[in-house]
């Protein structure tokens, strides 16, 4: 694998898990500056844990996460808490609980802007340019939003802090097909404004079609990587989801059965 010349994020040999069980067994990846990078893989392969560990929600037990802010400064993210990671310019939209349901849309955005400082009005304007549909909804309670609007608010709230890198955990989860398409279109638009994106998705093919580069995880390890187009055409990706014949038989034979 040839490392991209200018990564905004480098993850090396990341190990993490819950209680006495590790979920990630040494995952490595790079996010080239300005790129969309997709992480896909079957259920339970460690995709969400990977994102949570990068963002500081889960403690790394080994390996490192290095953020390059573009001004010759390298910053280790592992060991930092999420708010500190956000201040450095890396923001995350979790899969669930990504808005405060009891706060209004405006208040949700204010919370998002708080960590970044600066004038809220200017920041709000920028978010509303990308998400015009949020404007009429500003006084509404977030709990009253549809699933699609909620996801847009989650994205807007992350965007308002002016991140250099946005981490998205299954932005399309639970959304109707037309809305999924809209979310992906927004992700592309955000990326077009210069924000690097690292995203995890169940809708692997749609996500790969959007991504510059992709990684396939399997049981907490890197399995395959390549450009979005390469992975779309790779039979091995399908095997990662649906199994490949013989692998288990081999394991049995090795044990002399």
């Amino acid at each position: 694998m040839s490392a991209p010349s200018d990564p905004i994020l480098s993850v090396r040999g990341l190990v993490a898990g819950y209680s006495d069980e590790n979920v990630l067994h040494g995952v490595s990846l790079d996010v080239p500056r300005g790129a969309i990078v997709a992480v896909i893989g079957p259920n339970g392969c460690g995709k969400s844990t990977l994102l949570k560990t990068i963002y500081g929600l889960v403690r790394a037990r080994g390996g490192e996460v290095v953020y390059h802010d573009g001004q010759e400064i390298e910053q280790r993210l592992d060991g930092l808490r999420p708010h500190a990671v956000t201040r450095l310019g890396v923001n995350m939209v979790p899969q669930l609980a990504n808005v405060f349901p009891e706060l209004s849309v405006r208040e949700n955005l204010m919370v998002g802007a708080d960590v970044a400082g600066g004038r809220f009005g200017d920041r709000l304007e920028r978010v509303l340019r990308t998400f015009p549909a949020l404007e009429p909804a500003l006084p509404k309670r977030a709990a009253t939003l549809s699933g699609g609007q909620r996801q847009m608010l989650g994205l807007g709230r992350a965007l308002i802090a002016d991140p250099h890198l946005l981490i998205l955990d299954e932005p399309s989860a639970g959304l109707a097909p037309a809305v999924v398409d809209e979310v992906f279109t927004k992700v592309k638009a955000i990326n077009g404004e210069g924000v690097s994106i690292l995203m995890v998705e169940q809708k692997a093919r749609q996500c790969l079609a959007l991504a510059d580069y992709g990684y396939v995880l399997d049981m907490g390890r890197n399995r395959i990587e390549g450009t979005g187009q390469q992975l779309l055409a790779d039979q091995e990706v399908i095997a990662a989801y649906l199994g490949s014949r013989g692998r288990l038989d081999l394991a049995r034979r090795q044990r002399g059965e």
Partner: protein, 267 residues
Amino acid sequence: MTAPALLSVHEVCKRFGGVVAVNDASFDVTPGSITGLIGPNGAGKTTMFNLISGFLRPERGTIAFGGWRCDGQPPHALANAGLVRTFQIPRVLTRMTVLENMMLAGTAQPGEALGAALYMPRRIARKERDVRAQAQELLQLIRLDRLANDYAGTLSGGQRKLLEFGRALMTRPRMVLLDEPMAGVAPTLALQLLEHILELRATRGTTILVIEHDMEAVMAISDRVIVMDEGAVIAEGLPAEIQQNERVIEAYLGSPQVAGTAETVGA
């Protein structure tokens, strides 16, 4: 399929409020077969298990077990008829020993009736010996015999799954439904569990329907695989056929359609 089906699910529907969990699903399971039931998250697999095992009642459609129309029957009636299930999260009694957990699952124990307990102590003792012997035999099969007298609460997650599996076999069922037997089980123990499943079929001819997300495992042990997506059965066939089936691939990986081609709504 030539042999008459042991389990026959016919046009079954189940909704939860506005959510259609199982939508007009039909499939057959041949006696003595190992059948995999797979599908992406939320496909309706566990709901299907709940319908078959009597924990839920279908709104439409029929389920037959060994020719007996069993939909709407309570779980214990199905267990008596020879159909039992395990749960994704093992339900073991933590403050009883492993052996006691097993023995509790034995059927028709006369000692459960007060009259019998008072007047037929010998018969009860004999029956209890039989149940104990069977429990010990099964514990050997699943290699938990060394832990027979430990409290079930001290077992690891993987060992609890084995115990759950062993307990389901105490009634000598004709058919077992296994709900994600490998989930959360360490790789070596998981391989062992697969061997137990194959052995169970080989020695007792037990019919097995298994939900499993570990595709390597399910493809390796299943004779046939049934695939559900959004409540419907979308494919059925040999493991190798299923791995190449475009509808199945689409269910797992999404459609190859590129974002931005569909009509956008709202914002």
